[in-house]
């Protein structure tokens, strides 16, 4: 800085310089708290960034619950039955567990044109090596005829057969269909084996 041509006349005053000071800790804490609060606020009021969700709804799910309900009550009921009895093995995604429990999503057994075998399978259970979508599974499913009513079974089968989230789109099952097969199979006390089931005509 010393550009004075005359060295015998040094500058009396030095230019002020900026030092550095430590930023107070409370400022960081305050910013962190504000950011935390902001995230929480966004989470509660942002509607999940869904363009269709407006105040006072907080998520698409809440909004869907308030839509007028009509028609497929069996499907909704079936979901409840599934969540209570089936999801432990077959999982909420319907994909089952590899090498243990067979999938329902995309399964050729589930999506059969007529639900005759499926109803028998749920009523009396199944045991033995079963081939689902080309994969073999060997475990047992308990009989449900004591625990589930005709309506429960019909609705849960409607749910797994028609669940589009799983990619299934088979027809509904009515309580009357279950009732008929339950009456026909009243004497049976053992679980089905897959081979035995395959011999049953689907639409009976």
């Amino acid at each position: 800085m010393n550009s004075d041509p005359n060295p015998s006349n040094p500058p009396q005053e030095i230019d002020p310089t900026a030092g550095s000071a430590r930023a107070p800790v409370w400022l960081f804490v305050l910013v962190a708290l504000l950011a935390f609060w902001g995230m929480g606020f966004l989470d509660n009021h942002g509607g999940g960034f869904d363009p269709l969700v407006y105040k006072p709804y907080k998520s698409r799910k809440e909004l869907e619950e308030d839509q007028p309900r009509s028609g497929n009550d069996a499907f909704r009921k079936g979901q409840k039955v599934f969540d209570a009895y089936c999801f432990l093995c077959h999982q909420a995604t319907g994909k089952g567990l590899p090498n243990q429990y067979p999938p329902l999503a995309g399964s050729d057994w589930v999506q059969a044109k007529d639900p005759g075998r499926l109803i028998r399978l749920v009523l009396d259970g199944i045991q033995g090596t079963i081939t689902v979508n080309g994969q073999q599974f060997n475990s047992a499913m308990p009989p449900w005829k004591e625990n589930l009513t005709d309506e429960d079974i019909a609705s849960v089968l409607t749910y797994i057969r028609g669940n589009q989230e799983w990619g299934n789109s088979a027809s509904q099952v009515t309580p009357d269909q279950v009732k008929a097969i339950r009456a026909k199979m009243a004497g049976r006390s053992t679980a089905w084996s897959p081979d035995e089931l395959l011999k049953v005509n689907e639409n009976e």
Partner: protein, 301 residues
Amino acid sequence: MTIFLFFALALSWFGLVFEPQLQLGNAQPATNVVNTAELYPQRRPGLAKQGLEVYRSLGCASCHSQQIGQTGRTYDVALTDAGTNRAEVVRALLRVMPEATAVELEKLVAGPMPLKVLKDVTRAVADSAVEKLEPTGAKAVVKVIPTGPDIAHGWGKRRSVAEDFLFDQPVMLGSQRIGPDLADVGSRLPVAEWHLLHLYNPKIVEKKSVMPPYRFLFEKRKTGREPSPDALRFTGEYAPERDCEIVPTDQAKALVAYLLSLRADTVIFETPVTVAVPASTNAPAVSTNAPVAGATNAPPK
């Protein structure tokens, strides 16, 4: 420093401009819930579109907003059909309404339907009530009721959403509320003649109104051999001289057509609300001179 400034501005541009454009920029009319065959919203008819320009030029938006807010929602449960097994229904009702007595309920169940079972409850309570009632063969419904100060005013049945403004250019949202909100005025006050009288002199229909009269939208002229079919029909002190009549200009007709086309009563996915009768669609009434027989002109309290 500059880089921070740039990020601060870029971030808010993303949040306030870019993201909404991504979400709503391509919005298409779609989700009419009650009448699925019909899309919502529909374009306004030509006269109403001209009315929007009149609305804009008169500065109506500086005193009237067009946006209904909603702060919450509540649920009612109603029994629509008691079925055949009355005793079983009464037993289920006793579990749902513990404060009522069996004798009362028997009388109610035998009475007219729908019967209000629960009022002002949460969704979970309403759902569990329906679950208790339905196995008895009775039919019960959960009603969704939006709440909030605007809805309590009677300005509309549901909140306004982006979809409502899809075809408006410009959107006359308004921010001041010196007068009432007009987002649903077409279904709240569906009579064209009411609007014409109100524009001519607001005090005719609303004694306490602070709205200025818009007489220049009307023409005062000598009555011909026959009175004009469009002429306003006055009662009492506001009537013009004996041989004169007050006739709305095209501007007034267009403005009224626009006001009648302002309807936010179609139930769409974003705004669930249980309507008593399937709401008529948002097709606005275009006629400006035929009063609806028997319709009341009184604004809702």
